[in-house]
């Protein structure tokens, strides 16, 4: 860990860059600027799921021209760059899951939240708030799917002996997705 609550995800990302190029202002700051550009794209994709087209474009404009966003992401002050990207990516994956729930999509949300916690331990605040909010507000979206998966049919599928050629969990995961 780099700090007491910050993991080494960013350092792992920089290993190949610094193996190829020398340490300089450009090699340290340009990658975070480009990662933040990806963050803006992911943010726009999230906004488009909840807002009309021109409102989402306006929000993207405000984000891209916000001096606070520009300054903190260029210098990765915080560090916030990976945290923002993972937050918005987990929101996008969550929106996909809520639109059409499946095991694969749920696993993707969980994996993204775990990467976020590994990047920075205080990501737990966001993860806990997200889980609580989805549990309360979007209950109608995920509860029928969960209940269908817990029905007697799915129990029979789970208790069926696995084929020797393909593992049972792989089959059920493929069926669910």
């Amino acid at each position: 860990m780099s700090f007491h609550y910050i993991g080494s995800l960013k350092s792992y990302l920089y290993i190949p860059i610094l193996a190829l190029l020398d340490v300089s202002v450009a090699t340290i700051r340009l990658p975070v600027v480009l990662i933040s550009a990806v963050t803006l794209v992911v943010g726009f994709a999230v906004l488009r799921r909840f807002l009309p087209r021109w409102t989402a474009v306006l929000a993207l404009g405000l984000m891209a021209t916000d001096p606070a966003f520009l300054f903190t992401t260029t210098l990765d002050f915080g560090p916030v760059v990976l945290m923002l990207l993972i937050k918005l990516a987990s929101l996008l994956l969550l929106a996909r899951f809520l639109r059409a729930p499946s095991t694969g999509r749920l696993l993707a949300v969980g994996a993204m939240l775990l990467i976020g916690v590994w990047d920075k331990l205080n990501f737990l605040w966001f993860a806990a708030a997200l889980i609580a909010a989805v549990g309360v507000v979007y209950r109608r979206r995920w509860w029928p799917w969960l209940r269908a998966h817990r029905g007697p049919g799915s129990l029979r599928r789970c208790s069926r002996p696995a084929s020797p050629r393909s593992p049972g969990w792989a089959k059920s995961l493929a069926n669910a997705t």
Partner: protein, 84 residues
Amino acid sequence: VRAIICDHSQANRDGEKLNRRDAMTHRRRSLLTLGLVLALLTYYVVSGIRLMRLPGLQSDELLFVNIARGIYNSPETHLRSGSR
């Protein structure tokens, strides 16, 4: 019967025209949105590159660099990160 067929074919032609017009409008809007998004992203990246030239690296930045280079235990890292 012929009049009814003519009416139907006219209605179909009108519907096709409307659909084509809707598709054109949709495509134009999509292209405009894509253009605006790309322009905003370009503005952000160019501004970031201009701001990038600020002299001096932060202690956080150096710390991550040192860890990526495998020199976590260097005295410089500990001094700059403020830890012992």
